[in-house]
Amino acid sequence: MIRLKTLFFGATMALLSACASTNVDPIEVGARPDKTTDEAGLWQQMDEYEKDLRASALLERDPALNAYVRSVVCDIAGEEYCNDMRIYVVKRPYFNATMAPNGLMEVWTGLLLRAENEAQVAFVLGHEFTHYKNRHSLKNWRAQRNASNAGLLLTIGAAAAGAGAASDLGGLVALSALYGYGRDLEREADEEGFDYVTAAGYEGREAAALWQSLMDEIATSDSRRKKRRVARASIFSSHPLTKERIATLQDKANQMPGGVTNEARYVEMTGRFLDEWLDADLVRRDYGENLFLVNKLIARGDRLGTLYFRRAEAYRQRRGEGDDVKAIEDYTKAATYEDAPAKTWRYIGDSYRRKGNVDGALSAYQTYLEKAPNSPDRAVVQLFIDQNS
């Protein structure tokens, strides 16, 4: 949560300087803004935010994953800038990454789930790095303030209230003033980000491929409103995800020699999180999109026990017409792979039990308890076994 005092500090700073220039030079390595500047106010807000983030339950603390993501950022940004950045993997099931002026970068697990390879993630991180290096938050802040000082104060007041009510780091409302970069800065971030990534040797075509895949996913959404917004090509008000944007990246890529995608390494580094990330994605209850993601991963052919289990979970929880049949088919399929979670057998057992097939249920439950002897629901499963064998 952004603290009130820092927000008001920011607002005061905004009023102090009348009409500051939006022409700012790229940030220098190791730079920290002078305390008397509006930029220092922005940094202080984000320093406060970062303090809360460090304690947050939303942080993915896995050292190997964090080191991996950091290494990708350092590859494209260079060691010097990298030293000025703190990179956090944040457990949020949405496709996103953010970059704050003070060097705080958030990489959301929803992005890592959706990217197909390292080159795609690198492109997003390069895009974010451009926002940072070119001090887009400061530009944006000044542009907004120049437009209307009074209006800004109102925004801040409202944002503070919003952050308080949300009472967690989802005080994203408060940050929208910092992050709503607008079309021109987004284009700049896309294009420069692309250059960083290809200079680091990555395949440029993956940038357009990532956006395209995101468009395809949204087309499968259960949310009619979301689909309509995409139809108007403006789903992300601050992030017009247009055909034009994709085409621009595609053109740039076609003029470049090919590069690496590092897919194998990406799959290796992220594979063990798929069960957790797809489960977390299901919290959004957008079964259409969840199934799109699972199917895309199934097509890759790796960790099929986990993935058929995840698809079964989507069907089981959706509870639509015929979903129970699809779910049991996928649980059964999952059970033929080494990496199927033990829970697979509990749900197979549940399904038989619902249908009155006691023998089928007994056998599946017994397998379940063999595979997961310390499962928290052991007593309930054992009771059924005792009563029926």
Partner: protein, 195 residues
């Protein structure tokens, strides 16, 4: 890049978490028997604060020290296809109850609902057979974190009767507050019957 339209906080509230409105008055629930919604009875040993019912849910929120510090919610007669929680954001699709759920799935449905309103890392810690009056039930415990990093602990008792869900759900910060009223909540759950 911030796709804020994607990740805008839903106006979501669950059970206890939603009783923040100050316009409606809260009332005290004194020790003694209490009948909820003509469907469930419990025996209360301490004085609880009853939050105003939100019509769109089948739940009643109770607290002793404030909803952030302990929340007890009573749910009765929740029908198939209905969610435990509600949201102001109509784009959100909520976890819904199914009358063909086994009781283990009811526990998962409860935790899914808590995840939906923002509890992180929800984990079932124990699920055991129980009775809700004469009705077959489960008792379960769980843990979770809120985004700020504070850890929560919870317990619940659930049964399906006449294809409808009956649930008593308690959660509080693991540190100090959960234990503070754990015995009282155990007693309430032990005493619960379905009418």
């Amino acid at each position: 890049m911030t796709f804020s339209t994607f990740c805008r906080r839903a106006g979501v509230a669950l059970l206890g978490a939603l009783f923040l409105t100050s316009c409606a008055s809260v009332t005290a629930l004194e020790p003694g028997p209490y009948t909820y919604d003509k469907a469930m009875t419990i025996q209360v040993g301490e004085t609880w604060t009853k939050y105003p019912r939100v019509n769109r849910t089948k739940s009643q929120g109770l607290t002793i020290d404030g909803s952030a510090l302990n929340t007890l919610s009573l749910t009765a007669k929740l029908k198939a296809g209905a969610p435990l929680i509600y949201t102001l954001d109509r784009e959100k699709i909520l976890p819904v109850f199914g009358s063909d759920m086994l009781l283990g799935e009811v526990a998962e449905f409860t935790l899914d609902s808590l995840s939906f309103i923002g509890m992180q890392n929800t984990t079932l810690t124990e699920l055991t057979p129980d009775q809700f009056g004469d009705v077959e039930a489960v008792r379960f415990t769980f843990t979770g974190d809120v985004a700020s990093g504070l850890s929560y602990q919870g317990m619940a008792k659930a049964a399906i009767h006449d294809e409808q869900l009956y649930l008593i759900l308690y959660y509080a910060p693991a540190e100090y507050y959960y234990g503070l009223h754990e015995q009282e909540v155990q007693t309430i759950m032990d005493s619960a019957t379905i009418l």
